[in-house]
Amino acid sequence: MLWILAGLMALILLVLLRAIIGPTVIDRLISINAITSKVSMIILLMAFVRGEYGFIDIAFVFMLCAFAGGLWILKVLTPGDWQLRLPGIKGFEGDREEVASND
């Protein structure tokens, strides 16, 4: 069961490469989400490798903290209202264009 720990660590390095070279901020966000899910699975496997089953709770708390952190990063990234607005693409403007000119 140790080989999958090594494999997940190698995959974490690859995903971290995408987080470094990612051209947009969304690439970095999804890379961080992938890294946190893999780290949570590593903690969960480590509980069964070492026989210390309290690590399962640690994996649980880590996953929920990663969710809260991702939500906070999204809230900082898009301040204001959550209206879908893309002015360049046809058929994708929201119903209320006057809201889009506030910020």
Binding site: I4, V25, I26, S37, F67, L71, T78, L86
Partner: protein
């Protein structure tokens, strides 16, 4: 026998995580990369959870594993959806030839 089935589950989960990482490097667009990573992570976490469910010694750990899997399957599509919506609000355009619809 149970260890063999658990190892098969671990191999499948490693394949799912690896294919998600491969899609993270091969797709042309942040939204398609997000789709690949979301699918791969959900499948890999499910298979690792099933393997550890088979290997766990008592029922309290099995209940904890089921709770972790359920919460992960709720949280991961939610945060993928929110990241996609935040990307569209933030103004990151999809690849050429994408047909969008409102909703």
């Amino acid at each position: 026998m149970i260890k063999l089935i658990a190892n098969i589950c671990f191999i499948g989960s490693f394949l799912a995580f690896g294919l998600g990482t491969l899609g993270l490097f091969r797709f042309p667009d942040p939204y398609t990369r997000m789709h690949a990573v979301g699918m791969g992570d959900t499948m890999g976490v499910g298979l690792i959870g099933f393997g550890l469910f088979l290997l766990s010694p008592n029922w309290i750990l099995r209940i904890k594993l089921v709770v972790i899997l359920f919460l992960f399957w709720v949280v991961n599509p939610t945060i993928t959806h929110l990241v996609a919506k935040a990307g569209l609000i933030h103004g990151i355009y999809p690849v050429e030839g994408t047909r969008l619809r409102k909703g």
